[in-house]
Amino acid sequence: MSNVVALKNYKASSPVLEQPSSVDNKQVQNQFWIDCLIKVAKTQDQASFQTLFAHFAPKIKTFFVKQGLSMQEAEELMQETFISVWRYADYFEANKGQVSTWIYTIARNKKLDYYRKTNRQVNTTEMVSEDIAVDAGEQFDLRMGQEVTAFLPQLPEEQLEVIQKVYFEELSHQKAADALNITLGTVKGRIRSAVNNLSKLMRGGL
């Protein structure tokens, strides 16, 4: 319980990290990518597709390299990702969010597919739950009409940062510690707090 109070105080006292202008810019940028995707979907517009490609393809290649794949494999999977972007542009739901998230999920699925085909082991992130099981399971009832609404912004920035580094940037706990200039113990502690907080948020609030 004390953690919950501490977290609320933390949120109340933490400075606003994102200036409104950068949020606006992000939205404007995303709308631009959405417009490109719509043109690809509706008129197979190659110029819009090339704009998306020029921005995202080199990043996607980096994404695959970071997964431990060779330059050649990364180039091939980047191409396959964009073939799917072209083919499934129609399926992107503009109201659902960011184009970068949609492209990320395509790339992630290409990676998983490739790993399966080549019998590679998917690298998992070290679990911090007490039970080192694959999964400890959660049990809760949701009250009627209860919706998950953006809960990531409710996490303290320092916890969110560690989650992003460890889960999405593929850094080991030690490398995340080095990158953030904190100790290994602090990384583990923050992940544990983040997982606890997320678990509470999932159940319907802190």
């Binding site: 330059m71 083919r87 739950s129 999964d135 400890a136």
Partner: protein
Amino acid sequence: MSCNHHPAVESLLQHASGKTSGLQHLMIRLHCKVCDHCDKVVTEFESLGGETLESLSDTPLQVGAFQALMKRIQSNADVTEVDSNRSDYAHLIEKILGREGKADKLNWHWRTKRFAEIPLPTEDKGFDAKLIYFKKGMKVPRHTHRDKEYTLVLSGAFSDDSGEYKRGDYVYKTSHDEHSPVATSDCICLAVTTQPLKFTGTFGPVLNWFLN
């Protein structure tokens, strides 16, 4: 529709960041098909993936990469679609969950009059997977698990001392959980265990020998 029994938040994070594979991936993916709540949680985690992607530096592409890509698209090159290669039973399980499957036509191995199973081949080392079918009223003898058991309810429902489990529910039991589930309606589950079940009732030793 939402469920009452969910994967742990850490598993959803692993799933969103592309670190689940095989049976675990299948179970979480299917749970999210039924559970809007977890589906939204995963989508929100995926947005971190999108943000990370945006923050990555550029790796130079091969010369003429875009032209090569357009050539492949125009020639309709065969590209492996994300799900085309998945095992047949994943497809089958999804159909049962989607209420499209004709589950009774499957090649069930009837162990008793009211209990049947189909062992599933798996590439996940150390895991056993099967589809199980219990008819309404069937009570599974009291048992613990030698290690871990994950169950995804595909249709119908069952209950035990800790509650009722319905379509889409993701149930996790360990060697500490002793239970005797009863099917409250005809129930089909995907069950993944790390070790065979261990029956603990009076007839436990016989059942252990007979069923395992």
